[in-house]
């Protein structure tokens, strides 16, 4: 069984995000970019499945700019077997929208005759949380989202999902699209000997037209702005004063 793991190159989780002056998006010029942390967890899980001989091949896929190569190399160094890069943009600022990504992934999953797609539950840049679900619909496969535990059994996958107020366990039939949550595993580091080996692993470059997918955007960003800065707190002398402030200034009681 082959597993497809989509990986997105996003602004590093620890970088202080700066909004572009014209409000058209986030400034990514000379900013540290890394693999979407949820995708890292998906890569790790796929490698563990292969190590447990539940799957035979792990294929990392990235859709975006040429530099996504680096992200794929990280996935390969972690242990993915080969990689496919779909160059869909020349500008790092252009986000490829979920439906387009899902359509491309559908073609790749079909072409590769994969039985499982393991992806992050969402990307930390635009927080869409849509691609996995759309892909499952397009492929007509089952879906299991927010996985914090995963067991592959013959023709099914048993998935523990993190839901409001607890954990839910579901069984889905394969093929399936499973989106992973933070607590599924602790991803391994890319070891240096593996980074060296990863340089010799197969990385195919494609373009969207290879899959007959149209890139025309359906979504447009109206505005992007910084969250409002928090105002400094004030000290009150008494509970009465606090009540007055909550009532009159904050209007919450």
């Amino acid at each position: 069984m082959k597993v497809i793991v989509p990986v997105k190159r996003v602004i590093d989780y620890n970088v202080k995000v700066r909004v572009k002056a014209d409000g058209s998006g986030v400034d990514l010029t000379n900013v540290k970019m890394s693999m979407n942390p949820f995708d890292e967890i998906a890569v790790e899980e796929a490698i563990r499945l292969r190590e447990a001989e539940k799957v035979t091949e792990v294929i990392a896929v990235s859709i975006g700019v040429k530099q996504n190569q680096e992200t794929l190399r990280t996935a390969l160094a972690m242990g993915a077997d080969r990689a496919i890069l779909v160059i869909a943009s020349e500008d790092v600022h252009q986000d490829i929208e979920p439906l387009t990504v899902a359509k491309l992934l559908k073609e790749i999953a079909t072409e590769e005759a994969a039985n499982l797609v393991l992806c992050g539950k969402q990307a930390i840049d635009n927080d869409m949380n849509a691609t996995g679900q759309m892909l499952s619909a397009l492929l007509g496969w089952s879906q299991a989202t927010f996985a914090s535990e995963l067991n592959i059994e013959a023709k099914n996958a048993v998935v523990t999902r993190e839901v409001d107020g607890g954990l839910q366990s579901i069984k889905v039939s394969l093929p399936s699209v499973i989106t992973v949550d933070l607590r599924l595993n602790q991803p391994r580091y890319a070891s240096l000997p593996n980074i060296m080996k990863a340089k010799r692993k197969q990385l195919d470059e494609k373009v969207p037209s290879d899959y007959g997918v149209d890139l025309t955007a359906r979504l447009s960003i109206i505005n992007t702005r910084e969250p409002e800065t928090r105002k400094a707190g004030v000290k009150v002398a008494s509970v009465d004063e606090l009540l007055v402030k909550l009532k009159e200034e904050a209007g919450v009681i």
């Binding site: 590093d12 989780y13 620890n14 970088v15 000379n30 540290k32 890394s34 693999m35 942390p37 990280t74 602790q186 580091y189 890319a190 070891s191 240096l192 000997p193 980074i195 060296m196």
Partner: protein, 471 residues
């Protein structure tokens, strides 16, 4: 003769100082991180400006009252607590925590002694600069204390000790005069370097109240890596290869032994260990490049080169900022793991870099002759600085082996002395190493130090018992 601070003196101080200077003394001012010593009670004073510091010192000087200057309390040699003697004034600089000026175009920040090191780093960072002093206690250490002890840390290999990061200081002298050496000058050859007399003097010549600090451009991209090496000799060869290949882009080069990793596993703190096994020896490298080159690539090329030379066997490179932070957390948690394990003896040694492997093997050999120990040897190998900590075997407690402490120290210090090394590389002398200072120092050096102390502080009120013993 030093006298205790009496109610009468306190009343005099109250006459000329605002109420806010007087704070209740808590135990935290009397403890030191090693937990071996406890200070006697003193009168805690927390002035918030240089003139008030000067007023306090003047009154203390007039009445022969001992002063213990206090920064963040993170010193490791007992310089911040006085375990016996007449009741002192404990002068904490915690309220002198203003950044007075920042000259971005000149890369200079003028900060008061009580500013916490981490706050200085963060402020520099917000202007795309760095203040490179970095050490495990940076969240509570204050810059005045860093200067007074000439602190080292992990970036010395690139940027130097605290001394090298300072253009000048403001200090209150033992008679209450104010020395203003706060300079923005990078060149000033006008006589003796008085700033450097106070830096590293551990509060024995005066109280540093502010400093003019050097900022540096922030490297555009940074990455860290753990390289597994066969032995310390390979680590030293790797260091020399790094110097050839990376020049000043190498920001840190730290040796870590498997014992440190075992401690982390046994007692925590909880960290993500880089390998599924515990390498006998590994090195943590940090690289920061300015233009064009990617630090990750630089590390990859270095690894390949070192691999071909049989210097490294395995390694990992940080792929994200989070991973880089996680790498450093391993290194920075080792002192805490040591603390939790409980050392018989901990030493902060330096030898010429090339002699580190010989030091490690000789020390191990000599210690094995007096008993069985667990040795956690780690540290800033790129500076020739080794933290050599000796622990009891599993199952034994530190008190079972306390009798070995003196023997262990003597063995280590004798080896270091033979190698023209230092028994205190970056922690200072404080009150804990005064014997060693008189034992292992050149007599002329000691005599000069005594003359300087006598000239500046003839009454001996400044941090009594630190560096030079009270005679």
């Amino acid at each position: 003769m030093i006298k205790p601070v009496s109610n009468i003196i306190e009343a005099k101080l109250r006459e000329c100082l605002p109420e806010s200077v007087f704070r209740e003394l808590t135990n935290s001012y009397l403890e030191e991180p090693r937990g071996r010593h406890f200070g006697i009670e003193g009168l805690l004073l927390t002035p918030d400006n240089t003139n008030d510091v000067a007023r306090i010192v003047r009154i203390c000087s007039e009445h022969n009252i001992g002063i213990v200057p206090y920064g963040g309390g993170t010193g490791l040699v007992g310089g911040q607590i006085m375990p016996d003697g007449p009741k002192p004034v404990i002068l904490s600089l915690e309220r002198m925590n203003m950044v007075r000026d920042v000259w971005l175009s000149e890369n200079i920040m003028i900060a008061e002694a009580g500013v916490i090191l981490k706050d200085i780093q963060d402020l520099a960072d917000s202007s795309e600069r760095i203040f490179p002093l970095s050490l495990a206690s940076e969240g509570s250490a204050r810059i005045g204390g860093n200067l007074a002890t000439n602190a080292g840390g992990v970036n010395v290999v690139r940027y130097g000790n605290t001394r090298d990061l300072c253009l000048g200081i403001e200090a209150v002298l033992p008679d209450g005069r104010i020395f203003n050496g706060l300079s923005r000058l990078r060149k000033d050859n006008t006589g003796y370097d008085l700033n450097n007399l106070f830096i590293g003097s551990e509060g024995t010549l005066g109280i540093i109240t502010a400093a003019s600090l050097k900022l540096f451009p922030k490297p555009k991209n940074e990455a860290s890596a753990f390289f597994v090496v066969k032995d310390p000799r390979a680590a030293i060869e790797l260091f020399s290869l790094c110097r050839d290949r990376l020049g000043t882009d190498l920001s840190a080069f730290e040796l870590i032994s498997c014992v440190g990793l075992q401690f982390l596993k046994e007692v925590g703190p909880d960290v993500i260990l880089p390998f599924s096994y515990e390498p006998q020896w590994m090195v943590l490298l940090d690289v920061g490049c300015h233009q064009g080159t990617l630090s990750q690539e630089v590390l990859e090329v270095l690894f390949e080169d070192a691999y071909d030379r049989d210097l490294v066997m395995d390694g990992v490179i940080s792929q994200s900022i989070q991973q880089r932070d996680d790498f450093w957390k391993v290194r920075e948690s080792i002192p805490e793991a040591n603390h939790r394990t409980g050392a018989i003896s901990s030493s902060d040694l330096s030898v010429p870099i090339g002699m580190i492997p010989e030091f490690i093997s000789r020390a191990e050999q000599r210690l094995s002759e007096i008993g069985e120990f667990r040795i956690n040897c780690f540290g800033h190998v790129g500076d020739g600085n080794i933290h050599y900590n000796v622990f009891p075997l599993p199952g034994e407690s530190r008190s079972d082996r306390d009798h070995d402490r003196k023997k262990v120290k003597k063995i280590l210090y004798d080896i270091v002395s033979n190698m023209d090394g230092s028994f205190s590389a970056e922690h200072g002398i404080g009150r804990l190493k005064t014997n060693e200072l008189s034992l292992y120092s050149d007599p002329t050096k000691l005599a000069l130090m005594k003359s300087i102390k006598g000239a500046l502080d003839p009454k001996g009120i400044m941090n009594p018992g630190v560096i030079l013993k009270i005679e």
